[in-house]
Each structure stands twice: as C-alpha cells, then as structure tokens.
Symmetry: C2
Subunit: 512 residues, 2 copies
C-alpha cells in the first residue's frame, strides 16, 4: 500500500473507528462443517459469501489471523491461506496498521425471482434527442451512446476503460519514433502485410509470452485497429463457420454487444456469478460461440475460478469457440496474473487484446491470436477493410516493447491506478455507504450496486446534472438485476475522484 493511500486510510472517517467484526462468534462460522484438507477453501468461500450478501461490508476489518484461527480451532495457516485467496481476488486488502480490510464484494448470483423489482431491459429508441444530457439515459442506448456521453460536458468523467492518459509516455514515444524514422526503408512505407509489420508481430508475441503466459509465434499474431475491429473482421469468418450468434456475459459490455448485433449476430445473455460466467447457462443457450472477459470480467470484476475455467474448456472442446477479450489483463494490483484461456486450447480460443488500456485508445492498435482455421479468412478481411494498420505507430510500439519502455510505463500506471482505486473505494465508503463495491483487484473501474429503489439510468442522469459522467450498470445488462454504476477511476486524480463520488452521493440522496 502506498504512503499516499495510507494517509488516506488514516484520514478516513470510517478508518480506525470503522466497523470491525469480532472474532469470538465471527459470522457464526463452524469449522467442523468444513471437509478435512479443504478448510482454507471452505473459509475463503464463507468469507466471500459474507462479503457478497453484505454481512461483511466494504471497509470492515477481518479478525487478525491468529485470533480467528484460535476461535475456529484451525491452524493459523488455514486462515492465512483463505485471506491470501481473497486478497488475490481483490475482495480484501492487507493494510499495515489497519489489518485486513474488505475492499470489494464478489459479484453474487442473481437473487431468486421476486426478491427485488425486475425491470425489463428498455428497447432501443431512435427518437431520443441525445444532444440534451437529460435524454442520454432515457430509452435504450443506441449505437452513438458512447460518443454522446463523451460529448456531454461534465466536471468529472468516470467513464470506464480509459487509463491515466496524462501519463502517456510522450518522451519515450518521440524517442522511439526518431529511431524508427532513422531506420525506415522505402519499402516499409509502401503497402505492407495486412496482418501487421513483422517487427510488431514479433514484439507482441514476446509481450504475450511474458505478461500473459501465451506461447505464440509471431506468425499467429495479427495486428488490428483494436478489439472493435477484431470483432468486425470476425463476423464474416464466424458466419462462414455456420455461427450466427455469440453468447455474451450478463452483465457484460454494452459496446461489445452492440458491435455483435450490428454484425447481424444474436447475443444470447449468460449470467455471471462470483466464479465467472455460468457454463450450465451457456450450454442452455445452444450458442456455438461465447465472448468472455475471463481475467477481469467486465463490468463485475469477477476472476473466473479454476473450476469454471475447466468447465469452459470442456464446453469449447465439445465444439465451442471462445472469444477471449483480455481487455485489461495487465492491470492487476493485489494478485498474480490469471493465465489466458488461449494458452490452454489454441484451436478453440480466439484471443483479443489491445493497447487502449495500456497506452491510449487513440492509438487504435490491438492484436488477435485466432484459431489457425480462421487465419486466412481474417487476413483477407483485414486486407479489404484497410490493407493493414498504419505502419509508423506499429513500429514505434514495437520499439517501446523491445526497449522495455512499455513495461516501465505499465509499472508506473499500476502505482498511479492503484492509488486512484483506493481513493475511489474510500470515497464510496464515505458518500455511498449503502452501496456494494465489486471488482477491485484489477482493471480501471469499479462497479457498485445499490438497493433497487432508484433506477441506475435516473442516477446516472442526476449525476450528469451534478457534472459527473458515469455509466449505468443496466446499460450492460440484458437480464434483470440490481441497479448500479460502472465507475472508471484511472483517468481522474484522487481529488477529482473524491469530488465526483461526493456528487454521486448527493445525486442518490436526492432520488431516494
């Protein structure tokens, strides 16, 4: 934990005086019910459930390991191991003087029918006048909704998916560009390989091996203009393969779903629970392809569990295709990297990544590692789409990877982003004390859910009236579920985050 975050910790009103759980009858846990040899598993699961259902609130402290071990009559190693797992998952965080604190809730299974109001997802409307902020959140979001939200004036922008762009490595970029221009041949400036320059494909293969455990050859890598383009290129290849729909996570990215629909593909929703996408529900859709964000589910932040990964791979082996959108896998704070699914099943996983969350969306550089059988069709599609990405940015990026500059930049970002995440968690605890925070172990955003009496589109509209931009969770849902907000923290400094979250709290109080 950084010094700055520690200061924030000490200042936090709910800090030292905050809620703490006593170990004596802590959650009425009884370790006698745990299977022998599986006590750490059992304890981690009990704690996860307690965080999910609100018995353990964000910001509350867990009992010291020594105390809980004595209470439960288990070895201290069992408690340490359980806490370690929750830390890796991003649910709790070790703070030197503050003990082990709950920072975010796992994304729980949808509660049984009837326990909360269900809102049918609104239908798309073309008549909403998106030029007025008030109408941005009325009706279902159209294809231009992100452009419209971007264009809306606001003091604070919590739109998810943007890294800290003020940290963009301008000097390193210019230095790399100078070296690239000096070494460029005339042939490099002509029409090139539509799959990307050999230099960048080589560098990306190395980067994926190094950061994602993906052993791929440069020839397997295809450079594209971001994940949006990867999907555009995939549409005809999927259709040629007899695939007319791609199942999507629910909640799951609205932008991705709009993209697939625009390509004429059905997008049956599959519920996400605290272990990842539900494979039983996936099988029930009969879809032959699914788009997943397994390393850090968007927007819930769920990390796909080991068991669920195995079930997914079984599903794929039976003839399924997984589109693995590894959209922010590099941004992790308190846990080791989750290996990519592509590393385990090359023939059934199409891996997608980009620099949008690593350097800047404006670069429009991404990559895909498709199953071998799609390679030729994708190359042809890329040729007809644009004859290949712009070459200079490709060569500059290759150099940033090879010289280690990109990795240095990522380390810098991790530090900055984790301080901003902490600032947002603190501010949420102060200003939206009733809300539950999800997905804090990685990424560039948090998702909060709250009691279902205020529709999240109303809250987002009220927030915008208060000068704060954020996305309602319902935008990212096809299935019913509790309202919430998706809050990007990476692009705003801690002071702005505190200000913005305070405005969110005021907006929610007005509506409640």
């Amino acid at each position: 934990m950084s010094e700055r975050a520690e200061r924030a910790e000490r200042k936090r009103p709910t800090g030292d005086g905050g809620p703490s759980a006593s170990g004596s009858d802590f959650l009425q846990l009884n370790a006698d019910r745990a299977p022998t040899g599986g006590k750490a598993d059992w304890l981690a699961r009990q704690l996860r459930l307690a965080i999910a259902d609100g018995r353990l609130r964000v910001n509350s402290r867990l009992p010291p390991t020594r105390v809980l071990a004595v209470e439960l009559r288990v070895s201290r190693g069992v408690v340490i191991e359980a806490y370690r797992r929750l830390t890796e998952e991003g649910h709790v965080e070790g703070r030197r003087r503050g003990g082990t604190v709950v920072v975010a809730a796992p994304f729980g299974p949808t509660p049984p029918e009837g326990t909360r109001p269900h809102r049918a997802p609104p239908r798309p409307t073309d008549t909403a006048d998106r030029s007025r902020p008030g109408t941005l959140f009325s009706g279902a979001p159209g294809a231009d909704v992100f452009d419209a939200l971007r264009a809306a004036p606001a003091r604070v922008d919590f739109a998810p998916g943007r890294p800290d762009l003020a940290a963009f490595p301008r000097t390193a970029w210019l230095r790399a560009e100078r070296a690239v221009l000096a070494g460029l041949s005339a042939d490099d400036l002509g029409y090139g390989d539509p799959r990307g320059t050999p230099q960048l494909r080589h560098a990306v293969a190395g980067w994926l091996r190094h950061t994602r455990g993906l052993r791929v050859e440069p020839d397997e890598v295809m450079i594209v203009a971001g994940t949006a383009q990867a999907l555009t290129l995939l549409h005809p290849a999927l259709r040629a393969d007899g695939i007319d729909g791609v199942a999507v996570e629910d909640p799951g990215s609205l932008g991705t779903r709009q993209h697939l629909s625009n390509g004429g593909l059905a997008t049956p929703p599959v519920a996400v629970d605290d272990e990842g996408v539900r494979v039983d529900a996936l099988r029930a859709t009969a879809a032959r392809a699914v788009l997943l964000t397994p390393a850090h589910q968007f927007p819930t932040g769920v990390v796909t569990s080991g068991e669920r990964r195995r079930a997914l791979l079984d599903w794929a082996r039976d003839g399924g295709l997984i589109l693995e959108d590894d959209y922010d896998a590099e941004h992790r704070y308190d846990r080791p990297p989750v290996p990519a699914l592509r590393a385990l099943l090359a023939d059934h996983v199409c891996y997608l990544g980009s620099v949008s969350k690593l350097l800047a969306p404006a670069l429009r550089i991404g990559w895909m590692v498709p199953p071998p059988r799609y390679r030729e069709a994708l190359t042809e599609a890329k040729r007809f789409t644009d004859l290949g990405n712009s070459v200079l940015p490709q060569l500059v990026l290759a150099r940033l990877i090879e010289t280690g500059e990109l990795e240095r930049h990522l380390r810098l970002l991790r530090g900055r982003h984790s301080r901003r995440r902490d600032a947002m968690i603190d501010a949420l605890a102060e200003h939206l004390p009733g809300a539950t925070v999800h997905g804090a172990a990685a990424g560039l955003h948090l998702t909060v859910t709250y009691a279902p009496d205020v529709p999240d589109t109303d809250l987002a509209a009220a927030a915008l009236a208060h000068g704060v931009k954020c996305q309602p969770l319902s935008w990212h849902r096809q299935l019913p579920g509790p309202p919430g907000l998706v809050l990007g923290y990476a692009a705003a400094p801690p002071g702005v985050i505190a200000d913005g979250v305070a405005a969110l709290g005021a907006a929610l109080r007005e509506l409640s």
Copy 2:
C-alpha cells in the same frame, strides 16, 4: 523541362536523328474541312487521332508552329492553341531545342470487332500456387495477388501506385510529431470522433479547397484508412440505398473491382475511350452507381473531357451516384488541375482521396466527402469498423498541411517524378519501340500497349524472370482489348528505370 531530362534528351538515340514529321504534307491534313471558329479544336483532334493510331509515334517531333500554320493556311495562334491542349493532356511536350515532341498516346476507342484477337478474361482460380513467380500470372488474379507480387523477389519494381518513398519527409514528420505531442491533451488520447480529429478534418477541407477547387466544410470530411476502407464503409450504405452494383471503368483498377466484388456488389464494365468513360455504355448497364477516376483515369491516364463531364453530371442528376476516386490528382506535370466532379454536384458525388500517393501508403490515411444523405450511415460504419483512425498520425498530418510542409513535399515530388517519367518514356522509345505510351500528363505510372501477339500475362511473367515487377494490363480489364503493361515509375531512380525497361524489351523480344 529539367536539365537532367534535357541531357537524357540529347543522349537519346532517336533524338536529333529520330523520326520527324514534315510539315509539307503533314498527315494529309486539310484545314478547309475544319469548321470556322473551331480550327484549333479540329487540329487538336486530328493530332490526337494520329498519335492514337500510330501515325505519329512517341518521340516524333511535331512541325514548328510557324511552319505548320503556313502549310495549313491557318493563323499561327490556331496551331499554338492546338499544341497547348495536347500539352495539357500530356500527349506532347515542349522541349527547348527538341521542338514539340510526342510523349504519350491518348487511350483510343476499342477497335471494331474482329480486327485483333480477343481473349476472354480468365476466370479466377484458387489452385494457382502463388508462391512461385511463374504462377503469379497464370489464371485470373485472386484477392492476394498484389501481396504475392509484392512478396516476389525482383531487382526492379514497376508496380504502379507508389510515390517516391525515399523522399518521405522524415525530418518534417518528426518535427511535427514533436509539436503535436507537446500540445496534446489527455482527452486527445482517449476515444475520439469516429469521423476523425477536428484538426485534420479542418486541414483536409483547406487542402481540398486549395488543390482541388472543392469548397467543403470540415464537417463534410470524414477521415478513413485509405480508399480501400472508404469502399468497405460504403458497401452497406449503398445496399441500404438499393444499389447492388457499381459500374467500373474498363480498363479500370483490378484492386477496386476486387474490393467491390468482395462487398457483394456487381461490377459491370464500362469502356473508356480517349475522352473518358463512355456515358452511353454507362447508361446501357442500368447501374445506379459508377466508380470513376476522372482526373487521371487508372490505368489509361485519360483526362475526362469537358463534354464527357457534362454527360456524366447529367447521368448523375437523373439519380446516379458517382464515386469519384481522385487517387493521384495532385501529381500533374504539364497541365493545369482538372476540377473535381464533387465540386459541381455535391448530392450525387462521393469524393475519395488519400495520402497514399502523396506521402506513403503505409500511413493508411484517406478522406471521403460523401453526399449528405450517406453521412450518418458512414459514421456508424466507421465506428463499428475501428472507432476512427489512429490519432497521432492524423494530428501530425494536419500539422504538415497547415505549416505548408505537405505542399513543399508535393513540389519536390513533382520534380522528381517528372524526371523519372521522362526517363521511362526515353527508355520505352529505345527498348520497346513498337509500344504505345499512354497517360503521361499526370500520375505515377505509364500504360503501354503493344501488338496483340504476346499475352501481357506472359510478358509480365517473363519480365519477373528477368527481375522486373510490373502489372499486365489485362488484370485491369473485364472487356477484351490489346495487351499492355502498367508501369509505375515514381518509386525507381532513372538508372534503375532504364535497366528495368531494357529487361522488359529483352523479355518481349524473347516471346515475339
């Protein structure tokens, strides 16, 4: 004419001792047949016909104006005016000591049936093994043919469409990039307007006004990844408009035709004669859209005549759509610019341009100015395709335009390219004396046609065996016509051009 070209002129074997037409009975012209007040028109047409049918060969000198005026009993002004028109069209060139010399033939109408062998266009084949140079030109060209030709090893590359890439303004680019990075806001690095950055759209609007006489607002300009992408974006918009085919010039670009076919659009051919595309033949196709290269037809180099332009605009006013591919309009040598059709009929012309032939294809930056009714659909298509072009190259290009660097670069290129064109014309006169040269007034390539006894695919294959890459004219035809080669001269220095053309001559002699 440059000093270097003049030296080449003096050295040329067919120079001083070359063929010259006597004025006394020059072409059996009789000015009495000319309409009063239209004598310059008449003379220009007679000379054009004589160049087209070979009575006046490339490299032959026209009679001095004073001599011809006396012979024809017309005023000297009439002859000067006729020579001036031919110069503007690129058919003749004034050379200080060499008089007025024929440099290129107009692209004549297809001769009547039966006067030369007709070859049916070959059908596409997927079985050709394109990795072996010998098979590159067997069967009809597939979608990867340009990649395969690019990958083929060769000493000399006459592939058309590449400017002199060794002249790429590296220093100016880097200087502009430094300024751009220094002035960049964090917002500039985020997700932006899919239509392009405001800076570049503003700069391109100014560039089009200045170089092409096109008065457009920045809001009408859309930045795309080259003309290939513009066509990809147009496909769904055209289909939504009930257009299922786009007529194409014949001869006309193979790449463009492949692109349209890949988008599921029919490509009925329309013959090109020495005034441009034949509007009567266009009407006969019943196509509702046509793709044209009116300023410098690819590959023939024909400049659409005034009368033909009027006929085209009439056709468009009756409900037709013109896709105006202004692919190398900036590269003209001996004639004033031809205004863009878009300037005259905004609602029926979709204008397409790019920097591929101005700076480098590798930049993948182009623009389109669509008819207003297509604007929204195209914006949506661009959003789904890639969310917009890469931003840094856009901003750098905007700066190069605004600081005048791009115009300086264009002036530099014009000088270099016109010397290379002269070197190629000279070499063709020496090594392929029986061939006819077309399209020398502008652009980056020449087209030569020759007697029909050797298929041009055989000649191109033999040339590749001699280490020279070029494209057979038949690739760019759907209708039958004489064989020929399309020869890019802009990317090779004069010495290499002479070497390459000598090898073409040797290849043709082997096959004849």
